[in-house]
C-alpha cells in the first residue's frame, strides 16, 4: 500500500476514507482535519484560552500536541485519582504526562491530586459509597467537577477533551440502547457554556477513529500510558466499542456514519423540543459550581 500523497510506503490504511498515508503525511492529515473539525463545529477561536484534560493516554496527549501544532494557547490539566492498583497506575500516567509537558516549553500543566485535596482516593471513595463494582461513574463525576473548577479558577474559557469517534459512537450506542433523551440532546462536539460558571466543552477529535489517534502518537514518538485503567477492565463502554468494531469490520465507515448522521439529524430537529438541552442550573451552596440538584451538587454529596 502506498501513500496517496507521495507514493512512499503507507503506515496506515483508513478503509472508511479509502485513504492510505505514509509516516510523513499522516500527522499532517491529523493536524489538518483537527483544524477542520474546530472550524466546522465552531469550537473555539485563536484568542481563546484552552485547558486540555490530559490523562497520559494516547488521545489526550495527541490532542494537546495537535492544538500546540496549530498554534493555540493550550495548557494541560491532570487529575490524579490516587489509583494505586495495577502497579501505581496514577503515578505512571502522571509521570508520562509530565514528561510530555516538559518537552513543550511555553505550556503549563495543572496537577490536582484528589486524595490530597479531598482526603480520599477513588478506590476509598468507591468503597465508602459501596460502588466498587462501578467506580467509573464516580470517576466521571469527579473529573467533570474538577475540570470545570480549574478552568474557571485559572481563567480558561474552553475545556478540551480527547474523546474520539469510538468514544462518541459507544456513548451514542449506549444512550440509544437506553433511550437517554437528556443525554442524547446534550451529546455533540460542543457543549456551550450556557450557564454562569461553566466552561465551554469541546471534543476536537470526535471524528477520528481511536486507531488514528494511536497511530498519531506512535508515528510522532509520543510516549503514552498503554495499559487500561485497572478500574475500566470489563467496562460496558469497552463491550460496546467491541460490538461497534465488529460492525465496522464488516462495513467500513459504520461508526463515522452512525455519529455524523446523528449530529445531522439533531441539527435537522431530531430531539428538539421546548426544553433546552441543558436543564435549569442553580449554584451549589458548598462549592459554588452550577448544578441541577436542589441542594448540594453530586460532587459535594460524594464527600458528605
Amino acid at each position: 500500500m502506498r501513500c496517496r500523497t507521495c507514493g512512499a510506503p503507507a503506515i496506515i490504511n483508513m478503509r472508511h476514507h479509502k485513504l492510505s498515508l505514509c509516516a510523513a503525511h499522516f500527522p499532517d492529515w491529523v493536524v489538518k482535519h483537527t483544524a477542520k473539525a474546530i472550524r466546522k463545529y465552531r469550537m473555539f477561536k485563536p484568542e481563546d484560552r484552552i485547558l486540555v484534560a490530559v490523562s497520559g493516554g494516547k488521545d489526550s496527549l495527541a490532542l494537546w500536541d495537535v492544538l500546540l501544532a496549530l498554534g493555540y494557547h493550550a495548557d494541560g490539566l491532570y487529575i490524579d485519582l490516587g489509583i494505586d492498583v495495577g502497579g501505581g497506575y496514577s503515578t505512571r500516567s502522571r509521570e508520562t504526562t509530565i514528561t510530555f509537558q516538559e518537552s513543550q516549553p511555553r505550556t503549563k500543566l495543572h496537577i490536582i491530586s484528589i486524595p490530597n485535596v479531598y482526603g480520599e482516593s477513588l478506590a476509598a471513595l468507591a468503597k465508602r459509597k459501596r460502588r466498587t463494582d462501578r467506580p467509573c461513574s464516580l470517576c466521571g463525576v469527579i473529573k467533570r467537577h474538577e475540570m470545570n473548577r480549574i478552568a474557571m479558577a485559572e481563567g480558561y474559557n474552553v475545556l478540551a477533551t480527547g474523546h474520539n469517534l469510538d468514544d462518541e459512537a459507544a456513548i451514542l450506542f449506549a444512550n440509544v440502547l437506553h433511550w437517554q433523551i437528556g443525554y442524547l440532546r446534550r451529546q455533540g462536539p460542543v457543549l456551550p457554556a450556557d450557564g454562569e460558571g461553566l466552561a465551554r466543552k469541546v471534543k476536537p477529535f470526535c471524528r477520528f477513529y481511536e486507531r488514528e489517534t494511536a497511530a498519531y502518537v506512535l508515528v510522532k514518538g509520543i510516549d503514552y500510558i498503554y495499559e487500561e485503567c485497572p478500574f475500566a477492565v470489563g467496562a460496558t463502554s469497552i463491550r460496546h466499542k467491541e460490538t461497534l468494531t465488529r460492525m465496522e469490520h464488516a462495513s467500513p465507515g459504520t461508526k463515522l456514519q452512525f455519529y455524523v448522521n446523528f449530529l445531522r439529524a439533531k441539527k435537522e430537529g431530531l430531539l428538539s423540543s421546548h426544553d433546552r438541552a441543558r436543564p435549569d442550573l442553580r449554584m451549589c451552596p458548598q462549592c459554588g459550581q452550577p448544578t441541577t440538584a436542589e441542594t448540594l451538587c453530586r460532587f459535594c454529596r460524594l464527600w458528605n
Binding site: M1, N13, E210, R211, T213, A214, A215, A232, H249
Partner: protein, 62 residues
C-alpha cells in the same frame, strides 16, 4: 516470526501478510495497529520469518 499482543506471544514459521497474521491470532484489524521493527505496517505488508512484530491494541474505555 514472533508476534506479541498484550501478554501473549505467537511464533509463525512461514511468511504471512499482516492481515493473515491477525486472522491467525483472531484479532480484528480495526482494533489494533501492527508495528514491525519500530515501524507501523499496513494489512497488505508481508511479514517474514525472523521478523519481530508487536500488535498494539487501540481500544480503551472507562
Amino acid at each position: 516470526m514472533e508476534v506479541t499482543y498484550r501478554d501473549r506471544t505467537w511464533t509463525f514459521d512461514e511468511a504471512l501478510t499482516v492481515e493473515q497474521m491477525l486472522k491467525r491470532i483472531d484479532v480484528l484489524p480495526e482494533s489494533v495497529l501492527v508495528v514491525r521493527d519500530g515501524t507501523l505496517v499496513t494489512e497488505d505488508q508481508k511479514l517474514k520469518p525472523g521478523d519481530r512484530v508487536k500488535v498494539v491494541g487501540v481500544i480503551s474505555g472507562g
